[in-house]
Structure formats: C-alpha cells, structure tokens
C-alpha cells in the first residue's frame, strides 16, 4: 500500500495539465515586470493568473464528484493571494468545504492560512459572503477535530447554518457522506466494538441506515453492536521496543575509539577497563 501522503501530494485523478500547474513545470520566458526593469523571469505557470480558469474548473469537477486535490486547490488560493482581483468567494468557500473533511491532513488550516486579509469589498450591493461563512466553517471544523460528531450535526443542521447548507454544501456532492467518512476513520482507530446507537449519533442516521452504511464497509453487526474489523490502530499489544544496532557499527566505533587495544587479543583487559569505568562513572 502506498503511503497516505502519496495520494495527497498527487491524487490519481490529477491530469497532466493540472500536475504541470501544481508542480510548476513551466517554460521559462523573458518577461517584463510591472514598472521594474527586466528581470529574467521563469514565468511559471503556477503563478500565471490566466490559468485560474483551468484550476477553478478542476475544483468544480471535485465538488461534483468525490475527488479531492488539496494541492491544486491551494494553487487557486495562491493565485487569489497574489491577484486580489481574481478573488471569487464562492470558489474559496467550496475549497474550504472540501478541506473540512480531509482528515488526517490539516488541509483546512492550510487553506485558511492562505486567505490573506482582503480589502473590504468596494461593492456594497453584493457583500462578500466569506466573512460570515468562514467562522461557521471554522466552528464546524473544530467540532470535527474534537470528534464531537453529534454536536457537529446539531450545529450544522441549525437554522443559523441554513445559508451554508442551502447555498454551498448542497452543491458539494456527498458532503454529508464525506463527514461520515471522517467519523469512520476516527471510530476505526479507537474501537473494536461500538454500539449501533452511539455510532448512529455520530453518523446522524437512523439505526437501520447506519447498519446499512457500515455493512457497505464490510463491518459486521451482532446484537446491536458493530464489530470493527481489526486494523493497525485498534490492535493493541504491549511491546518492548528494543534497540537494534548492527554489530559492525558498534565494533568499528569501538575500534575507532580504542585504536591501541587490539580487538581480538586482550578482550579481558577491555572488560576490566570497562568495569572500572562503570565504577568510577
């Protein structure tokens, strides 16, 4: 199994074009900088504002499916950071919604870190929704982080969060299921068995629906208790971590330290010296 980061660094769905944008492979060209004398400029595609469309389309594709590509989305935020005129609050919100459920990666924080302060929107007719939505998302993210899943659902389904639900998360295909995946991840690591009732409160599903959900994962249910299959995180075993040091290394370092004691011959003398050292240490 490849490490968990490999698909984070480069998800399998990412196309070559996007890969080029994200990893910044670009033709170097001679360009002029705004107002400043010419500097030889590797005009990297990653920083080229005209590529924003490609990345935004890719994000749209992500919201329409269960794909997710954090690094590509960070590239969008980077372009917004450098070119405030490109800024599109809907795109930002969708990126954050996608990042909300990307445990165990801290994508949400990473995205928020790139949201520079914006100059207060000049267009008063159409207020920027981000300032009101962002704190809500942060709140929800905090609850997920704290594994307070029932509280998450209560808050998410509250009247206050209606705008978020009806205008944003509704667009994001299977948002609720992706939250449930976060739950599955947390439960899988901590439990060997869990009551269906408790699990349902985490899933915000009826008990029968929860049972159906976990059976799809291959988990079995016995008398109202879900049995979580063994995995590296819910197997506990007391272990003694032993130091393993390859013999040659110890020997060579011994020999280096003690150049004038022949290693084969006077071992007894060496032992004596070490014993003496132990006494006087």
């Amino acid at each position: 199994m490849p490490g968990p980061t490999s698909s984070w660094v480069c998800p399998p769905e990412r196309t070559q074009i996007i890969e080029n944008l994200v990893s910044g492979v670009g033709e170097s060209k001679q360009t002029h900088l705004k107002g400043i004398r010419v500097v030889y400029c590797g005009s990297l595609d990653r920083y080229n504002p005209s590529n924003i469309g490609i990345l935004e389309d890719y994000l749209y594709q992500q919201t329409r499916s269960e794909e997710y590509d954090c690094l590509a989305n960070l590239a969008i935020l980077k372009l917004y950071q450098f070119n405030p005129t490109l800024y599109n609050s809907d795109v930002v919100i969708h990126i954050l919604i996608k990042a909300l459920t990307s445990a165990p990666f801290p994508d949400f924080y990473l995205c928020v870190s790139l949201l520079d302060e914006r100059p207060s929107s000049a267009n008063a007719d159409e207020p920027d929704p981000l300032p009101s939505i962002l704190p809500q998302l942060q709140q929800l993210y905090a609850l997920l982080q704290q594994c307070r899943f029932p509280a998450f659902w209560t808050l998410y389904l509250s009247e206050e969060y209606r705008v978020l639900r009806e205008e944003y998360t509704v667009e994001s295909v299977s948002f609720e299921d992706s939250v449930r995946k976060v739950v599955v991840r947390a439960v899988k690591a901590a439990f060997t068995k869990i009551g269906v009732k408790r699990l349902s409160s985490y899933f915000n599903l009826e008990e029968t629906a929860s049972e159906a959900f976990v059976s799809k994962l291959g988990w079995s249910i016995e008398d109202g208790v879900v049995i979580v299959p063994p995995n590296p995180d819910n197997q506990i075993q007391s272990t003694v971590v032993q130091e393993t040091i390859a013999l040659p290394r110890t020997f060579t370092s011994l020999l280096r330290i003690l150049p004038h004691i022949p290693a084969d011959g006077r071992v007894i003398e060496l032992v004596k010296v070490i014993t003496h050292a132990a006494r006087t240490a």
Binding site: I36, Y40, A189, Q237, V240
Partner: protein, 606 residues
C-alpha cells in the same frame, strides 16, 4: 568717437589683417562680449558649484580613513582577481572590523564616493552597494530611498548575473552568495512589513508608495528566485548527483551556467530562499514542496554555510509544525540543535554567531510547543535545555485551557516574520482612508489563531492520557466519573486522544519532504471495546549502545591516564587498605554501591 575708435582698432589690425574681417570680428566681438559675460557668469556659478561640490566630495573623500580606502582597494583587487581566499578575508573579517571601528552608527561611504578607488568598476560598485545597504538595514534605520535603491541594486546585480550574454566570470565565496539571497529576502520582508503599516506614513512616503511602480513585490522576488533556479538548472544538478552520474554527464545536464559554482550555489540557495518566502506568505505546503529535491542530511551542500544550514532547518521545522506533523518538526529541530551545540566551540568568533544563537533559541521554543502537543523522548538532552529555558511555559502547556497563553507566547516569540502578499491600497486615496478605518489583523496573528485552534482541539489529551496510564482496563462510565464529564463526551475525547497519538511522519526513506506514513507517536495505546477501555503501554528496552560508547570513551581516558601515570609503589596501597577497612566499615561499601548506581543509571536511561 565710435568711428574714430573703430578706426583706431582697424588701424592697428590693418597691419596684418584684412580691414573688413576685423570689422566683422569686432562687431561680433561686441555682441559676443555681453554674451560672453553672461556666459562667464553662469559658467562661474556652475564651476563654483561644481568646485564646491567637488570640494565637499573631496572633503568627504578625505574624511574616509586611509585604512578604509586601502581596504576597499584591496577588496576590489581581490574581486578583480577572483581570489576567493582574499575575498573571504575582506568580506568576513575586514568589512566587519571596519564597521565596528568606523561605521557602527553611520553609513559606509557612498558608492559614488569610493568609485575612483575602484576604477568606477560597475560590478564592484554593485557588490559594494549590496554591502552598503545590508549595513544600513542591520545597523541603522533604512529610509524610503534606501529601500527603493537597495531593491534597484539587487535587480541590477541579478540582471547582470542572469541577463549577460553568457555566464559571468565573477566568483564569490559561498558564504557571500548565501548572504546575497538571504538579504534579498530579508529586505523584501522588511519592506512588506513596513509597507503594511499604512497608518504611520509621511506624505512623501504615501506618494511614492501610491506611484504604482512597486518595488519588492512578491511576484518580483519569487521571479528572481525561480530564475536563478532555472538558469543554474540546480534541480537537474541535484538529481544527476543523486543518480551518481559522472562529472562529464553532470556538466552536460547543467549547461554552461550551472557548471559554474557561482550559479550553482545561487540556484541552490534560491531553493532554500523559496522555502523561506513561501513560509512567510503562509504557504507551508509549497514551502516544503519547493525543497523536493534537496536532501536534508549532513552530507548535503547546505551544510557548507552554517547560517544557511541553521536557517533551512528552522523553516523546514516550522513548516512541519504548521502542517501539524509534530514528530517531523521535533526531529528536524533536534538534529540541528544538537549540531549547534556541538559547533558552539568553533563558532563563537563568527560574526553570525549571534544570529545563529537567536535562531536556536527560537527553535528550542518551537520544540517545546511540538513536544507539548506530541511528547516524544527523542532527545533528553535537548528536552532538558528546553525545560531549563522555558520551564514555566512547558509546565503550563500541559494544563489544558490554562496553558493556551503559554502556547501563544512561545509561538509569537519563535515564529518567522509573516508578510501580507499585497500592500494596502496606496494608489487609491479613498480606499486607503477606508482601509485605515478598518481594524486589521496582522498575518502573524492570523497564523497564531489558526494554530491555537488546533491546540484547543487537543486540550483534553494530556489529562486523559495521564489517567489511562494508571489502568490496564477500565469502564467508560467509571473513567467519565473520574474526569467528572459526561460519558459520551469522554468517549469522543478518547477518539481525539487516539488521533493525537497518530501522525503523518517520515520514516526516513521518503524522497520529498511532504511524503510520509502514519506513525504512532506515543507509548500509550488503547482501544474501546464498546464500553470498556483496554490500555497497554509500550516500553522502550534498555539502550546499551549509547551506554557502551560513553563508557568505552571513559575507559579510554582511564586507560590513557593509567598509562601516563607513574607506576605506584606496590606495597603501600596494600598496607593502607586493610588499615582503613576495619576502622571505617562504611568505606568498603561505597565501591559496591557505586556499582549499583552506575547500573541503575542504565535502567533509567532505557
């Protein structure tokens, strides 16, 4: 009268010249005289002015101490001859010594002033200005002109290096090349911070900033770094070296620019520069991603310049911390802090010693944060130093909500300078006025808030962990009773604890810095079986190797001591020992006791 006089002149001229000509000349001369007078007057003004200026310049020039002049000439010659050893001496010691002596509180002489000393050599003057402005930034308060001009000078330098017809033949010591890149980024950061404080700008500064031609834009800085990287093909170089290609093959891969140490090192340092710039802009992923090809180990080229080595580890460690990969961050800090400890004895004289020490102190603080969030026993030595320095904060950080201010304090102290990518709207007076009325959170505060959110999510972890340590199995109801919380709430906290004890971390074999696998970072492990918590603890067995190495070293000293000491007289010790034994029976016990203490020490070490 006129006629007569003309006649008189004419008469005189008549001797050898044509009359008409003389007339003409005279007429012109007459007109010209007034003109000439005017001219002469203005000429005099100008010349006096020039003279005065020249005099002042001469005076200023004369005021330059001879030793400084000699230094500059010498320095220039060293650069002319590409004599790296001499350049290093001038750069690392000469410049700093003279700064201490003559320019501790004032600028060095302006480049124009010393130009005659160096044959007006444009390249040397650019390099001189580089030092001149660096001195202004570090010792004095740079004004608007300094900020703009230092930018122009950097651009000139990079233009010269990158846009000359072919690679330039200049050679500079690696330390200086690192400093050029480092200082370029520092000045960018300094400018960005200064620029973002819109409230305290003078009229003149506002006009200049509103003028559009923005120096030090993030784009231009990144451009320089990326250009240096591309021109030198340093990524290709690193890959080729890692693939074990021959010198010839490498030469083919990197081309004419990349073959020269100047370009290769500038390219290399630019990668590290990107790490820093991206970190300052809050893009921690990209920061580590740009380091993709650089190997962080003791053999890598970055170790050749200590300041660069230390700075790189600081930014890598910090970025890991912001990616919430605390184990990786801890490991990064431990590596470099140990190195600094070991280097201490050699580096006290270096002019960068202070800077390195400051960075080290900040890394101890960051280590304290990481260790509070994800305790590890990676290095007891570093941990002890941290406890010595930040003992109070370390204690507080394990106390839940109460510890938040301690996290904030350490983070604020130890984080890098963050910058905003964009300036306040200086070009638009109305927007600027509106901007000034809003309250603004500076970037460091935003990142702090962001970080503390994660800390808050893990607040219950230390308490819960210390409770679990006492049991091998325990009902959830009982545990909730101990903690005085709701049972469901507590079960959720247990899941947090579980997540906190797993993290993404490098196992050692990964290539890029972003790669890693899930690792367990705590000895305590537990699992919930419906309503029962089962707990186990992993213990680390005795560690023999370190003990043996230490004692072998000790043995060597003892052995050497024995060999070098004169032979004792054989009878005397035999006599004294039995005498002591009956008299003081306790005395005979200590050797045995010492022995157990020494072995007991091993147990605690394990």
């Amino acid at each position: 009268m006129d006629g007569q006089r003309v006649a008189y002149w004419a008469a005189e001229a008549e001797v050898d010249e044509d009359l008409e000509d003389v007339d003409l000349n005279l007429a012109i001369g007459n007109f010209g005289q007034t003109d000439q007078y005017e001219d002469a007057k203005s000429h005099i003004d100008e010349t006096t002015l020039l003279a005065v200026q020249q005099q002042m310049a001469q005076q200023a020039f004369a005021q330059i101490p001879d030793v400084v002049k000699r230094f500059i000439v010498h320095f220039y010659q060293a650069v002319q001859e590409n004599n790296l050893a001499e350049i290093s001496v001038s750069y690392e010691s000469g410049w700093n010594r003279l700064t201490e002596k003559y320019y501790a509180k004032t600028e060095w002489p302006e480049a124009e002033l010393i130009a005659p000393l160096v044959n007006d050599d444009p390249i040397f003057l650019i390099l001189y200005r580089e030092l001149y402005y660096r001195h202004v930034y570090s010792r004095l308060q740079p004004n608007l002109d300094d900020r703009f001009h230092s930018y122009e000078n950097s651009c000139e330098l990079f233009n010269y290096l990158l846009n000359s017809d072919g690679p330039v033949t200049l050679e500079l010591p690696e330390q200086w090349l690192w400093d050029i890149v480092d200082e370029f980024i520092y000045q960018y950061q300094s400018f960005s911070v200064w620029r973002s404080k819109a409230g305290s700008k003078t009229e003149e500064e506002l006009t200049s900033l509103g003028d559009g031609g923005q120096p030090w834009s993030s784009y231009s800085v990144l451009n320089v770094l990326y250009s240096l990287i591309q021109k030198s093909r340093v990524h290709e170089y690193i890959n080729a070296v890692q693939e074990g290609k021959t010198q010839e093959e490498i030469g083919e891969v990197v081309g004419e620019f990349g073959s020269l140490p100047l370009y290769r090192m500038l390219g290399y340092f630019s990668i590290l520069g990107l790490l820093r710039v991206h970190t300052m802009l809050g893009d921690f992923t990209l920061a580590l991603k740009s380091m993709e090809n650089v190997e962080l180990n003791q053999k890598s080229s970055l170790t050749r310049v200590t300041a660069c080595h230390v700075s790189t580890y600081y930014y890598v460690g910090f970025s890991y911390m912001m990616l919430r990969r605390y184990t990786d961050a801890t490991r990064t800090f431990v590596t470099i802090l140990n190195l600094i400890l070991r280097m201490r004895q050699y580096h006290t004289r270096s002019y960068q010693y202070d800077q390195i020490n400051k960075t080290a102190d900040r890394m101890y603080a960051l280590f304290a944060i990481c260790n509070a969030l994800s305790p590890s026993r990676l290095d007891d030595n570093i941990l002890n130093i941290v406890k010595e320095r930040f003992g109070e904060q370390v204690t507080k950080m394990s106390r839940g909500e109460e510890g938040i201010p301690a996290f904030e304090e350490l983070f604020t102290y130890a984080c890098p300078k963050f910058v905003a990518a964009n300036p306040p709207p200086y070009e638009d007076a109305d927007a600027l006025a509106a901007y000034l009325e809003d309250t603004h959170i500076d970037p460091a505060q935003r990142h702090l808030k962001n970080f503390i959110a994660d800390v808050r999510a893990r607040l219950s972890v230390p308490t819960l962990r210390s409770f679990l340590k006492l049991y091998t199995s325990l009902g959830t109801k009982k545990l909730a009773g101990f903690l005085d919380t709701d049972e469901e709430e507590m079960v959720q906290q247990l899941m947090v604890l579980k997540q906190a004890s797993r993290s993404i971390g490098r196992m050692g074999s990964e290539k890029g810095l972003l790669d890693g696998s899930t690792v367990s970072n705590n000895d305590l492990n537990f699992v919930i079986d419906e309503n029962m918590v089962h707990i186990t603890e992993s213990t680390v067995g005795r560690r023999y190797a370190g003990w043996f190495i230490r004692n072998t070293e000790h043995a060597q000293r003892v052995y050497d001591g024995l060999k070098n000491s004169p032979l004792p007289l054989p009878i005397k010790p035999a006599n004294t020992q039995p005498q002591q034994q009956p008299g003081q029976p306790q005395q005979s016990q200590p050797p045995a006791q010492v022995k157990t203490v020494a072995w007991g020490g091993v147990k605690t070490l394990g």
